[in-house]
Amino acid sequence: MYGYGGKFLHVDLSSSEVKKLELGKEFAQKYVGGNGFGARLLYDNVSAGIDPLGPDNCLILAPGAFCGTPVPEASKTGFYAKSPLTGAFGEAMAGSGIGAALKFAGYDALVVRGRAKRWSYLWVDDGEVGIKDASGMLGFTTSRTLEAIRKELGDPRVMTACIGPAGENLAKIAHIESDFRQFGRTGLGAVMGSKRLKAIAVRGTGDIELANPKLMEKLLAEWYGTISVHPHAIADIKYGTGEFIGTVNEVHGTFPTRNWQDSVFEGHKTIAPQYWVPKYSIKTKACYACIKPCGKIFVIKEGPYAGTVVDGPEFETQYSLGSCVGNSNPEVLAKANELCDELGLDTISAGVAIGWAMECYERGLLTPKDTGGMKMTFGDSDAILKTLELIAHRQGIGDLLADGVREAAKRLGKGSESFAMHVKGLEPPAYDARGLKGIGLAFASSTRGACHLRSCAYAAELSGSWWKFKKVDRLSADGKKYVATVENVMTLYDIVGICKFSRHFYFVEELPDFFKAVQGFVFKSKELLGLGERVWNVEKAFNVREGLDRRHDTLPPRLMNEPIRDGSSKGSVITREELDHMLDDYYAARGWDKNGIPTRAKLEELELKDIADDLKLV
């Protein structure tokens, strides 16, 4: 089939069994790739109620449908599993070249189940698949693991996805590192660790054939011409993703600070790329097949953090390990980012967990006795850096934080739940929902917990318009049903594997041409929205099967009880009534019942009758 590797690779680490299943044409047309394959394979291969860190969970790697082709920005590949952090649908995406490599090797998804008897890594060498000993790599950082595997295999072009010590120690906020990019969210590094799988290594040397190579060349030339001179691309290339940090801080007043106690960070200027790029950055770096590179290589040459070399910090990390922990020192920010990448921690979850611990400490709920004598006040550089190490190794206070803020607050109690920032267990990204109410709904409705990327609703909320949605009022709870549509659009991006930053160039209307060139599929824009909706409903069904409903589509108490204290969104809050109003609108737009459960009629409309049967919907 054009545009595909052609097979799904199933590996059981318990029995060492390897199966290669043909990708059926019907399945390919219905779920298309990436997020679509990941969600459906997860639904079909994992039963309800299993332990996310047990052998019955599956870790799935699924490249976007356009990965491995020159569609500009088609870099995104996803890992999927039941999340140990949320107990629900788990998903993490990154612009790693491992997705393209997997397709060149002939596979459109890899499904890993079971648990290896000893620490191992999986070696996918085109048609040959082997499970190799990794016991000598235990404790290795992520970059050292990559180096060791390339050395052992004797090929410097082998692509890997690996975990650091955090994943080995089952920190539920562990990420998977690959191609110097991070599959950050929902703790999938711990799933990999629970399987005693240190890494996945892939070498693919086969062809991806295209339905229409000439059309592909034409589209590449046209879109390169558009994107490479686009003002958004130029801004991203210059300063990376944090280019608008000053705006969200001052114009919107929605930059979460000190564990969301404040929404304006007085120290934002020094963590903004406008300050540190000219001073510290030596080059610009891209994800796979990206022509608007936003990565910044940050190098520190002198002082206590000399020797730090990291790709980043990106916008989310400028918040999580910057404002959220009260840190305005860019060198500490870069060092903390490097530690997360090397130890294998999601920067968002790790930063929010530390922010929560700092607030606990300042309120006297955690004492020097709990922190091993460490002074855990906001902005304390040593506390930030030391705690990251402790989390990754599950030592001292780090053991508490390694399970994420929901679990940590439950264990500590003492009222700390009221300022534990999470939805469904996932720590939120850098958008203060109280001043961007649509993103508040999106945090609540997202299938993987508090997330900005599943909807990109912040795009419309911050600027007032995106795509066909105009006059979006960020401070109102009215008119937010558009979130359901943008979720479908962004799911579509995750299905084809296009970067969310492409939303400035590609809209749904542009995608059919790429399908013609790559797969030869003929889609209308409306059908593509339906595809995004279908896959979103599969994810939702996964969560429904786990017992989640309207009660879980909620927000952290702080966002509903404590109005923003200062800045341009001062006084704004999302009341319980407002959230309910937004959820009612949203469920209605989705065709779900008032409890947030998909109806049989909706699932049948989306050709998901089998799932409706499985959920025993009437």
Binding site: G68, F104, D207, A286
Partner: protein
Amino acid sequence: MRLLVFKNKCTGCRLCELACSLRHEGVCNPDKSRIKVERRSVALDIPTVCIQCDKRFCVAACPLGALSVAENGSIHVDESLCTACGVCQMACPFDAIRMHPSKHVAMICDLCGGEPQCAKYCVLGALKVG
């Protein structure tokens, strides 16, 4: 005409590999690309491609006369003569020659007949036509 490589500007996107294989082979396959990019560390991406050097070590080394200099200055591989013996790879000090994985002939940049696809899509100008 020649390709100029500024490796410190390489973002490591590897779009050049895809564009090259698409133009020359009609498929997407980095192993069939005349240019290769290695992402060696977080900071280092190294593109390697024929730079049409003055010495033409490969042409001189080929024992079968399969390599010649084309009008635009690129190296032309006569696929009917080439046996993939690898002597040109030995001779190239820039490691810019690869073997085609299925056709068993040397793959050397031909400058795409005047508009090299790799340089065309190199957004920060790590590859330029000089």
